[in-house]
Symmetry: C2
Amino acid sequence: MISTRGRYAVRVMLDLAENNIDSCIPLKEIAARQDISKKYLEIIVKDLVLAGLVVGASGKGGGYRLARRPEEISIGEILEHTEGPLAPVACLAPDAASCPRAGACETLPLWAEYDRLTHDFFYGRRLSDLLPEKR
Amino acid sequence: MISTRGRYAVRVMLDLAENNIDSCIPLKEIAARQDISKKYLEIIVKDLVLAGLVVGASGKGGGYRLARRPEEISIGEILEHTEGPLAPVACLAPDAASCPRAGACETLPLWAEYDRLTHDFFYGRRLSDLLPEKR
DNA sequence: TTATTTACCTATCTTGTCAATAGGTTTTTG
DNA sequence: CAAAAACCTATTGACAAGATAGGTAAATAA
């Protein structure tokens, strides 16, 4: 289940993509436009900055802007940096202590296949695909 | 993220499918074979009984058996009855108070598409597809 | 230079779910 | 009638989700 963190992150990124891509946009504006608590967004945007997806500028006239063009940002990236791994089961997460049953597990291939499906889906979509002109 | 409930449920169903499909198998045996706490499995199997996926028989010589043949049971059914809806985001869950933004939401179509993908994947797989002779 | 605006940082809180445990009651058969 | 099984209710501990609160540092416009 994709939580609000990931969903809000995508909405913030999309908001940045839609509103004057070159200048900085203060979080206050985004929060108002998206109707999300600014304080909560701060936590989420921090992850995006750390991931190198957006750039923040302090001080008056500051705000955030995309670090790359929307065509070069995949939804998968946004989700993994805010939600953690997209892996659908714990056994497939990168940090998973490998399960002792893994070798003989009859269900693991099923989860692995779904994992691939999920991964391909979200890394195959770019932020630009969500822009109004594309839809 | 698919939790242990759903994953254990699939393993129990598969265990039932592999071990003498017509007679009853006590949970004690399944728990030992799958190396899962019997007490925890009780909770999970209860959901499977309520869903009409397995049939329980009390008393000595009792146990559980599949209610239908493995070819007629989809993985999706098993998961939805033990985990709840497969919906990847809250806005798409059946009981969701419909979001006021839903009509204009630019990200909803993305989640909806992923929802379809997930649904089709798990309802397209049957328990029989996981049996060793199939793999 | 100073007030203002902004990002940035740390901590706390509440609620709910996950994963499991515990101890009992009822049902059925050998 | 005794054993073995399902079935039932309650509780627990740990952790994450979804925020909220209050402050510090940086940069600019006046």
